[in-house]
Each structure stands twice: as C-alpha cells, then as structure tokens.
C-alpha cells in the first residue's frame, strides 16, 4: 500500500471519528442543559477544552455560549467544525476512492452535503439534535460499511488505527473535563466536590452518554454512577469499545500486520502500561489532569511514530 494512500485513509478515519465524537458531545451537552436547573451554570467552555480547540475558539469568539459553541463546532469554516472535518474526510475519501468501498465513499459524500445543508438550522436546538443524530448514525454506518467490505489488509489496519487513536484521545479529554468539574483539590489530599452534589450523578451520566457508555456501565459496574467508577470504566475497561485501554489494545493488535512496526508497538505498550498500572482512586487524589496530560503526550508520540514509520516516503 502506498504511503500517501495509507496516510489519507488514516486521517479520514480520524476525521470521521472526530466528527462523530463532536456530534455526540454537542448532543449530550444540549441534553444536559435540559436536565440541570437554571442556577447550575454549565460551562460550555468545557466543550472547547474537550475538543482541544481553546486557542482557535479564542480567535473567533469572546464568550462560550451555547449558540457560539454550536456555530463553532458545527458550521464554522475552521478545523474544529463538523462541516470542515467532513470536507476533509471527503477530500481524503475522494483521493483514496480507488481503495475504498464505493458505498462508503458515497455515504461520506452524502454526509458532507447533508452537513452543509443542515448547518444553518443548527442554531435551533431541536433541529440541531436531529442534525447531530443523523451525523452520528451516518458515521457509524460508514465505519460499518468499511468493516463489512474491506479486506483485513493494510488499508483497513489504518482505518482501525486512526479510529482507535482518535477514540482513546477523545475519551481521555472527556474524563479530564469531567474531573475538572467535579474534583477540586484546594489543598493536598483533600477532595471536595465543587459541583452541587445532587447533580453530580447527572453530569457523570452525561459523560457516559457522550461515549455511548451509560448502558454498558450500568451492566458492568452495577453501582450508582459515581466519578471514580466512571473514570475507571472509561480508562481501564478492556471490553468497552470506547475505553482508552480497549483502543490501545486494538492498535497493538492490528499493527502486527504492518511492516516495520517495532517502534510504534513499543510506544503503544508503554501507553497501555501507563493506563493499566494507575490506581484511579490515587489519581483522583493527586489530580487527574497531570496524569491525563502525560497520557496525551504518549498518544501524540504514537501518532508521530505512525507518521514517520509509514507515511513519510523514503527518498
């Protein structure tokens, strides 16, 4: 497989997954708003942090309101919006048509046109929900088509790696924001909830929902929704498909099919150990944010290694 094509496939999968995640986040946040009483101020700014677009957002908007966020993450002509990411996914698909199943290309193409035409209506909450749900469904459908029609060769391996790394990245960001909201550490060792206690459960449920994790959490954890368990579930549950560890394991399994995989494999194993060997209760005590930052750095290293191992053509 050509390096250039591999790179485009990888990015296409990342963009598509990011589109799906962005749509989920927006949807969940909008719903969460409806669940919380007015006096509980929900920070829309959290969405900016989760999507890693703090600086970009600041160049465009002064305040993080619902309408600004919706505009920014759905319609704006910038890297963070669903519409632009879909254009990029489509562009990558258009330049890898020769290796992609035709139906999947057509679906991406459709979704791109759909998002453009629906973007304007997204300022209205009800229309926005519909748009986001359609986007999520379509992204799922596209990945389903790829899974159903692509041979398990290098091409599909890059789809899976792109998707898995994007998921691992996103879930850690979400955990980070949830933790910031809910655990404060005014002094060493003392943990006090800042968020009004009765609503803590609702917030963590939303975190779970944003990852389609609520049902599985219920079935597998079997305890009242609480921060520590949610963090553990989303980081360390090997069986849950959006959990960080599950995705790292996926990468380490699929990359065995690729040539020259030693460096990337080493980095992935390191990240897996970092996730699995941590004690969540202690992390919460010490401050989850530093931990997540270190993890994010490891993900970036994996991405860089993927890039220079397989995408940078030898001269």
């Amino acid at each position: 497989m050509l390096s250039r094509v591999a790179e485009r496939i990888y990015w296409q999968a990342r963009y598509l997954e990011r589109v799906e995640n962005t749509a989920r986040l927006l949807n969940v946040f909008s719903n969460l708003l409806l669940d919380l009483p007015g006096r509980t101020k929900l920070g829309w700014r959290a969405l900016v942090r989760i999507t890693g677009t703090t600086e970009l957002f600041a160049t465009r908007y002064n305040i993080a309101t619902e309408s600004n966020l919706a505009q920014f993450l759905i319609a704006d002509d910038c890297d963070a919006s669903i519409c632009s990411m879909l254009s990029m996914a489509r562009e990558n698909a258009r330049t890898t048509r020769e290796v992609m199943p035709t139906e999947a290309f057509e679906r991406i193409n459709d979704l791109h046109y759909y998002a453009q035409s629906a973007a304007d209506s997204a300022a209205v909450r009800s229309a926005r929900n519909e748009m986001l749900e359609h986007t999520i469904e379509s992204a799922q459908q596209i990945f389903g088509m790829l899974a159903g029609a692509m041979s398990r060769d290098s091409g599909y391996t890059f789809v899976r790696m792109g998707r898995a790394l994007e998921r691992a990245d996103m879930v850690t960001r979400i955990v980070d924001v949830g933790a910031r909201k809910l655990f404060t550490h005014p002094g060493k060792g003392s943990v006090a909830p800042r968020f009004p206690e009765p609503y803590e459960g609702i917030l963590w449920m939303s975190v779970l929902r944003s990852q389609s994790a609520y049902q599985m959490y219920r079935q597998h954890v079997r305890r009242r929704v609480n921060g520590e368990d949610v963090v553990r579930f989303l980081l360390q549950d090997e069986e849950f498909p959006r959990a960080a560890i599950h995705n790292l394991t996926t990468i380490s399994k699929v990359l065995s099919k690729l040539p020259k995989n030693e460096e990337v494999a080493g980095l992935v194993d390191e990240a897996r150990r970092h996730v699995m060997q941590s004690q969540v209760a202690d992390l919460i005590e010490e401050g989850l944010t530093d931990y997540i930052d270190r993890l994010q750095i490891k993900f970036a290293a994996i991405h860089n290694a993927i890039t220079h191992t397989w995408f940078s053509p030898r001269n």
Binding site: S3, R94, E98, E106, P259, F311, R314
Partner: protein, 479 residues
C-alpha cells in the same frame, strides 16, 4: 402527457431517435413510447433522482478556472442515445482498423521511417511537429504498439453517416463517465431496460487491466500496474481514481514513484516495490523532468530511461502523440491503405490543409463557411467557427493561417446529428458527438458505443463539458 413526439421537430438534421415528427426510428420505438407514457411529475422525479444519484456517487469533473469550487457535478441527460448494433458493428471494425494503422505509422516514424521514403507524407510535417519526440527514435515497444488507449471522436452527418472527427492518442479521457452514465440510468430508469437487449459496457476496466497486464516486462502472475495522475487538481482526476479503483490498481502521483537502477518503484508503507506498467495520465512533457520539461513537478526523474531500458511499460508510450495531430489526421485514410492494404471503413471529415497552397487558398476564401482548427489543441480550444465568427475574428485567423500554415486545418461545418434531451417543458433536439474508446496491444477492444457528449444549448455544436456540454448514456441495441 409531457413528451409528445408529434411536436418534436429535428428540422433538417439527422435525428437519431425521431425520423420526423411523430415517427421514432425502429430501434427507438419502445423507448419513445415509454417516455411518452410518463407524465410531468414522473419525469421531474426522474430528473431529480438522476441529479441526486450523480451527487451521491460523486461523479464530478473539474474546471480549471473555477477557483475554489474545483469539483463540479457531471451534467447528464436522462434519455439514452440508441445506436442499432448492425450500424455499430461496421463502426467498430472501422475504429480497430484506424488504430492499427495509426500504431503502424507511429512505430514507423520512430523505427525506419519507411513512410517518408515512400513519400506518403512529407517528413517535415512530422519531424517539426510539437508532438514528435526525437528521444523515442529506435525504441520498439512490445507489439509495436504505442497508442494503447485511444479515444476517437465520431460525429454523424445529416445522412447519419459516422465520420471521424479526431483521434485522441495522448491521454484521452471520458471513459469513466461512459461507465457512470450507464450506472445512473440503471439506477433511476430501470424500467427502460426491460424491452431492450443492450450491449453492456462494464467490461472496460477489465479489458483495460488485461491489456495493461499484457505489457508487463516482468513475466509474473501479478504484475504491478499503476495509474499515474497529475493529482486532484487535474480535470480528469475523478476518472483516474475511478479506473484505478475498478482495475484494483494503485493510483499514484509522481511523488509516489522513484527510479533506482533504471527501475521504477513506488513508495509503500513497507518500503519500495517495483512497478511494471504505468497507465500514465500525464502528458509526455511532464513525465520525466530529466528528459522533457525540467520544471515538471508531476513526473518522475529517470522514468524515461527506465522505459527505454524496457524495465517498465508506459501506456500510452511517450511520443505516441505524434499521430494525434489534425494534419496527421488527414493522412490516416492513406495510412490505412499504405500499412494495412485495406480500404478505410470510416471516412474522415473532408479537410483542407493550409500548408498546401491550393487548399489554403480555399480556406482563406471560405473562412465564413468553414471551421478552422489548430493542429494540436484539444478540448475545442483555439477554433474558428466561421459561420458564427465576427469579421475581426476571421481576419485574425486569416493572419494566423498565413503566419503558420502548418498549424491549421479547414473543414466544412458538418451538420451534426441530433438526439432528444429532456428540456424544461418538452423533449428537444440537441447536437451530439460520440467518443468510443479503443484498446490495443496484441488484440483490440472497442467499447460498445462510447461517451456521448451533447450540446445542451439549443443549436450549439459545442459539446465539451468544460464549455457547457452534457452527456448521455449510449446504448448499442441488438435486434
């Protein structure tokens, strides 16, 4: 009723579907009746469905001057064009014959030049041509074939006779649209197919693949075949990607390839792997900066030498364009006699060559009646449409012809045949041409039918998609 063939009047032109108002030609009778049975709502729905299908399928073409919006939807008309198989059979043989003769000629130009010694054509006309590549002298590609893929433009005159308008031997495009047009029609108009026995067109990518594979220098079960594209900004990018996909070949850009020890390799995730056959969709001059245009960013340094050494095959071969020239075109009937000792099956459009004194006089005296074409342009650019041109335009062309007679050719304006298109209110006649695709290596293959291009503007002869033309599904119908 939306379509009423009684009110459809092709006038003095040869209409391929409706002979005269109310009288469809025999092969088109069922199609005409079916279309008549649809009401306005049905037709509007079908039109919309076709547009949506094209959008979804991502069938697009690119227009250079469009700036940001580089990717345009393909303009398509729903009513298929019908060609009876009996008529097509003759045309098919004519096309094969023509491409065989052209390849004999190209091979002769680069090996031996018998055609000059026998005074069939003046060597200057060839050796001074911008498409002649002296670097190719003495090279003998397999089967003596240089132009493996040819797109020949045909028109039908007022009597319905097929004539050759031009031979495209460099990097002819359009075949993907031919295939996609059929797919769109099947998707939105499946009912149409019920009563017809239509030659399928879907084999083309397979035929192309087999032809390319037969050129592989390494004799191995799975030769590595690639399609070399200039990239996404090229107007035919859709087609490059489409053909690569349908053949299961890699689509590569120049930067994906590298030459080492006169062998061509592509840069893979696992390192380098050798390439056997390149279906190149880049012009000669951009193929290899070491040999041709040194500024080219699209090509691969060393590619030409790898080809000369026989380590990689190029289709079409560099230098094949020497026969893709409107002056050479006028000699093709003579080449057919000279090389094949056969009578030409398909006629040329009568042509006046401006480098011949008498013929030039005729062109200059009749600029208001003739079409004047430059020898080396494609896509309908740089032409004079005499009858519609202004006095100033004609004077300008008279000057150009006198300055560079070798570069111009005059032809009478042929009354192109028409076919119905689905207009806003009714079916209306519009002019069409036809581009079949011919493959040649050891054997030949001709697409049944080809790409029909249609001038969507009433009365217009301009069928190019870059200039407002559309296209139609083309049926070769048995029985």
């Amino acid at each position: 009723m939306q379509i009423d063939w009684q009110t459809y009047d092709p006038g003095a032109f040869h209409d391929e579907m409706i002979e005269r108002p109310g009288a469809p030609r025999p092969t088109a009778q069922q199609l005409a009746a079916y279309l008549e049975s649809l009401d306005r709502k049905d037709l509007d729905e079908k039109k919309l469905a076709a547009r949506l299908a094209i959008k979804t399928m991502g069938i697009s073409f690119t227009v250079y001057s469009d700036g940001q919006n580089i990717d345009r939807e393909w303009p398509f008309d729903l009513i298929p064009r019908v060609i009876p198989a009996r008529e097509w059979e003759v045309t098919r043989r004519g096309l094969e014959q023509r491409v065989r003769a052209l390849n004999c000629f190209i091979n002769d130009v680069y090996n031996g030049q018998k055609v000059f010694k026998d005074k069939i054509i003046d060597p200057e006309l060839i050796l001074d041509s911008v498409n002649f590549r002296p670097q190719c002298l003495g090279i003998e590609p397999r089967y003596g074939v240089w132009a493996h893929i040819c797109g020949t433009d045909l028109i039908r005159d007022e009597h319905g006779r097929f004539m050759v308008l031009e031979d495209n031997l460099r990097v002819p495009s359009g075949v993907s649209y031919m295939l996609e047009n059929r797919r769109v029609t099947k998707r939105v108009f499946p009912e149409l197919f019920e009563n017809y026995d239509i030659e399928p067109v879907t084999e083309y990518p397979q035929e192309l693949f087999d032809m390319l594979a037969s050129l592989s220098p390494r004799r191995q079960a799975f030769p590595e075949i690639v399609v070399l594209t200039p990239g996404i900004y090229n107007s035919a990018y859709f087609e490059h990607s489409y053909l690569a996909q349908r053949m299961g070949a890699e689509l590569v850009e120049g930067s994906d390839l590298v030459v080492e020890n006169d062998r061509v390799y592509m840069r893979n995730i696992g390192g380098l792997s050798q390439v056997d056959v390149i279906y190149r969709r880049i012009d000669d001059m951009f193929l290899d900066p070491a040999v041709f245009n040194p500024e080219s960013m699209l090509g691969v340094p060393g590619l030409f030498k790898a080809w000369v050494k026989g380590n990689v095959s190029l289709a079409n071969a560099p230098g094949a364009g020497v026969a893709d020239d409107k002056i050479v075109y006028t000699y093709v009937p003579e080449f057919i006699k000279y090389y094949l000792d056969e009578d030409p099956i398909l006629p040329n459009v009568p042509s006046y060559r401006c480098f011949k004194d008498k013929e030039r006089q005729h062109v200059l005296a009749n600029l208001d009646k003739l079409v004047v074409k430059p020898a080396n342009e494609s896509g309908g650019y740089g032409m004079l449409m005499g009858p519609q041109a202004s006095v100033a335009e004609r004077e300008e062309f008279a000057r150009k012809i006198k300055d560079n007679p070798r570069n111009y050719l005059g032809q009478p304006l042929i009354s192109l045949s028409t076919v119905p298109i689905l207009g806003e209110k009714a079916a209306e006649p519009r002019h069409v041409d036809l581009r079949p695709f011919i493959l040649q290596a050891a054997d030949s293959y001709v697409t049944p039918g080809g790409l029909t291009r249609v001038a969507l503007v009433k009365g217009s002869y301009v069928v190019n998609s870059s200039q407002g033309g559309g296209s139609k599904d083309t049926w070769v119908v048995m029985g």
